[in-house]
Every structure is written in structure tokens, then in C-alpha cells.
């Protein structure tokens, strides 16, 4: 009897929660509860952090030697690239001022909220719980970055915590473009937790090594939640078949999405 009541109660909760809007009474009660539990979670996370760091240190040592060599080469290449980019960026700025160019909102129009990742919300889906919420100015669908690259967006919100849905979650889709050629497409989750650059027609030029960034939106009535130009990842492979209208493009994120400790949420 008791078990039956509890099961019916669970189903009723689930049903009402599923149907009500995000400002409904159950969501409100959950926000209050989450706010009350949050200090305990943060405390526990702080206690565990030295142990986690120690594990990370040993783990890092094992892979450091091989990575060191690779990073030295990459560093030399990136130094040259950075110089070229700085020159191009300055020229770009000068030209925009000369032309009085009206651009889409960029990263400079947003404020950053840096926050800690508490952990995954559940083993299902790729969602993370973070220790900042609406009290910090975060809004639903706000873009979330790590190491300067887009990693996801805010999909659940309480005053003190929020849920980030990662790009690798199957429900995620972000409009993006190739910085080299301007080819537009959608970033979606790919096979085995990878990312794919979908809906790119065969006539567009996208090749291995291209940097993909958020496209933003140029339609004032349908503004994008993401500013234009946030790096997402680098194309690792492209292919096409006669029977498919679009290219098959795989890319790898600029950051390790399975091991995020801290993220930056962009707010306006």
C-alpha cells in the first residue's frame, strides 16, 4: 500500500514537473531546495579537491612527456599564427571604423561569470551542474565556454546552481561556420560522443584543420543566444557520398568535454 502510494506520488511529481513551465510551483520549490543543498555540495567538493588534484597530478605525469614534445612544436606554430592574427585583427578594426560597419553582437558585448563544475547531472545525457545561477546574472540558453571555446549552453536554472548541456548531448545544436570559408552548418553530437558539423551542402568548401566557430544570427527577429565567433573546434575529417545531400564532417572540440572543472558563462 505504502509502496503503491509512493510510486503514484513519484509518477504524479514527474508528470506535473514535465508539464509545468520553468516558473511553476514545483520548479520554484526545487530552486529553494537546491539553494539550501548547495553550501553542502560546495563544502564537499572543496574537501575532495586536494585528492582530485593529486590524482590529476599523477595522471598528468604519466602523459606529460609525450605531450611536452608535441606542445613545443605547436607553440612555435601558434606564436607565428598569433602575430599574424593580431595584425589582421587590428586591420579589421581599422577598416570597420572607417566603414562605420554594423556588426553582430560579439564577445566584447558580454560579461563573463566564471564558475566551478560540481559534476555531471546524471549518467544520461551530457549535462553538468555548475555552482552559479540566476543570482549571478545567468539566464537560460546562455553560452558556456571553457578555455575560450564553446562547450554548451545553460538549460536549467536555479538561483544558486545551473545545468549546462554540453555540445556532445544529443539534444544540442548550434549554428556555426567555418572561419576560413564561411560555410554554414550546425554543430551536433556525433558518433561516440564526438561532434559533427552537419547540414553543410556539398558545394561548400570545408577541409581538415578548419576552425569552426559560432555563427550568431543576422536576423534581428530571431537573434542567436550565442555571439558570433566563439571557437568550437577543428575539423578532423570530411567526406561525402552521392546519396546524401550534405557533407559528413567530424570535428574535435578545442577542450576535453569529458573533464571540465571550471567554465565561463557569458551574460549580457
Amino acid at each position: 500500500m505504502v509502496v503503491g502510494i509512493l510510486i503514484v506520488l513519484s509518477l504524479a511529481l514527474l508528470s506535473v514537473y514535465f508539464r509545468e513551465s520553468s516558473d511553476g510551483p514545483l520548479h520554484g520549490a526545487q530552486d529553494v531546495g537546491a539553494t539550501a543543498v548547495r553550501p553542502f555540495q560546495v563544502g564537499a567538493e572543496r574537501v575532495a579537491r586536494p585528492f582530485r588534484d593529486l590524482y590529476g597530478w599523477f595522471d598528468g605525469l604519466l602523459t606529460a612527456k609525450g605531450e611536452n614534445e608535441k606542445l613545443r612544436e605547436e607553440n612555435s606554430r601558434l606564436t607565428l599564427e598569433a602575430i599574424r592574427n593580431q595584425t589582421a585583427a587590428q586591420e579589421n578594426l581599422d577598416l570597420k571604423q572607417l566603414l562605420d560597419y554594423q556588426d553582430l553582437p560579439g564577445l566584447e558585448d558580454y560579461r563573463s561569470v566564471n564558475t566551478r563544475v560540481l559534476g555531471p547531472q546524471s549518467p544520461f545525457g551530457k549535462r553538468l551542474l555548475i555552482t552559479a545561477g540566476s543570482n549571478d546574472g545567468i539566464r537560460l540558453n546562455a553560452p558556456v565556454l571553457a578555455a575560450g571555446a564553446l562547450v554548451g549552453e545553460i538549460t536549467e536554472l536555479s538561483p544558486e546552481t545551473a545545468v549546462v548541456t554540453l555540445l556532445t548531448d544529443e539534444s544540442s545544436a548550434v549554428a556555426a561556420y567555418s572561419i576560413r570559408t564561411g560555410a554554414l552548418g550546425l554543430i551536433q553530437s556525433g558518433e561516440g560522443g564526438s561532434l559533427s558539423f552537419a547540414n553543410v551542402t556539398k558545394d561548400k568548401d570545408v577541409s581538415r584543420g578548419d576552425l569552426i566557430a559560432t555563427a550568431g544570427s543576422s536576423v534581428p527577429r530571431l537573434p542567436s543566444f550565442f555571439p558570433r565567433g566563439i571557437p568550437i573546434g577543428i575539423v578532423t575529417s570530411t567526406s561525402q557520398v552521392d546519396t546524401e545531400p550534405f557533407k559528413q564532417i567530424q570535428l574535435v572540440s578545442n577542450v576535453d568535454l569529458s573533464n571540465l572543472r571550471a567554465v565561463t558563462v557569458l551574460v549580457r
Binding site: 513519484s10 564537499a44 547531472q121 549518467p123 544520461f124
Partner: protein, 172 residues
């Protein structure tokens, strides 16, 4: 009775906090330990089916609140899990030293399958291959590693089961 309720609530609350803040981010060989489930197994084995169901419901509700999950989702799964383990503890599993290990192993598998089914019913995109093939065995092993220490701790806090040999001797 009231003291037992209080002790159980503290245990479950601690398990929820630890699971959401620390344990859920530990990933070994693709699996993640579930401290909350293992704690529920221990409480249910020691206190029976009704307690198991009630504790499962409370634990699930607390976890969904702390994790901003869908309210009722984890409660539903843990209520059924708590009741089932409690029944096993009251009947076949009583006095058996391997009961915590066996319960943890079976309930981890059933819980994963149940959670997967529930997510599919709710229309969530889920990767069944990863959950049932790649992550399940490491998760069972990790939960088994937690089983005896957690069971020992819970038994120390709550005391022996009401149907334990110790109390049977007293009655006799």
C-alpha cells in the same frame, strides 16, 4: 523509531551531497560509482521493504532537487529499488553475508536498465550502447567495491536488522 528516521535521513542526505558533488564526477574505465544506490541497498537490507521504499523515495527526491533533475524521476526508480531490496533482505537475503554484494550487483544492473527505459519513455536522447555495454560492468564493479564499507557504516549507524540472529536469540 524517531532516532532511526533521523539517522537514516542524515545518511541519505550525506550520500546525496557526496554523490552529486564528488562521486558522480569519478569515472573509471567508463563507469561511475553510485554511492546513493549503495547506501539505499544497505538501509533497505537492514530495515526492510517499507523503509526501503520510503528511503528510496526521499533519496530520489533529494537527489533530483540537488541536481536540478526532473522531480519524481529518481524517486520512482529508487522507490522500486528500495522496496525490492528490502523484500530480499526480509526473506531470502536474511543472515547471508553475501546479501549486500548480490543486492548491489543486481540492483545496479536493474537500476541502469530501468533508468534507461524511463529516459526512453520520456523522450530523452540516450546512448543505450554506452550505458548497457560499456559503462555497466565497470559501474557494477565500482558499486561492489563500495558495498561492504558502506554496508558496515550504515549497520554501525542504524544497528542490526530487526530479524537478525542476535535478536532472534533474544526472543527465544
Amino acid at each position: 523509531m524517531t532516532l532511526d528516521v533521523l539517522k537514516t535521513f542524515v545518511l541519505v542526505f550525506a550520500a546525496v551531497v557526496l554523490q552529486s558533488a564528488i562521486v558522480s564526477s569519478i569515472q573509471i574505465a567508463g563507469g561511475t560509482p553510485d554511492l546513493l544506490l549503495v547506501t539505499l541497498v544497505a538501509v533497505s537490507l537492514l530495515r526492510g521493504a517499507i523503509w526501503g521504499a520510503a528511503v528510496g523515495f526521499t533519496a530520489g527526491l533529494l537527489f533530483d532537487i540537488a541536481n536540478l533533475g526532473r522531480l519524481g524521476e529518481t524517486s520512482l526508480l529508487l522507490t522500486v529499488a528500495g522496496y525490492w531490496i528490502g523484500r530480499y533482505g526480509e526473506t531470502t537475503g536474511r543472515d547471508r553475508t553475501h546479501a549486500p554484494l548480490l543486492s548491489v550487483a543486481i540492483v545496479t544492473i536493474l537500476y541502469s536498465a530501468g533508468a534507461l527505459a524511463l529516459h526512453i519513455v520520456l523522450g530523452d536522447p540516450v546512448d543505450a550502447g554506452t550505458i548497457l555495454v560499456r559503462a555497466l560492468i565497470p559501474s557494477v564493479v565500482l558499486n561492489l567495491a563500495l558495498a561492504f564499507p558502506v554496508y558496515a557504516l550504515v549497520r554501525r549507524v542504524l544497528g542490526r536488522a530487526e530479524w537478525s540472529p542476535h535478536e532472534v536469540r533474544l526472543l527465544g
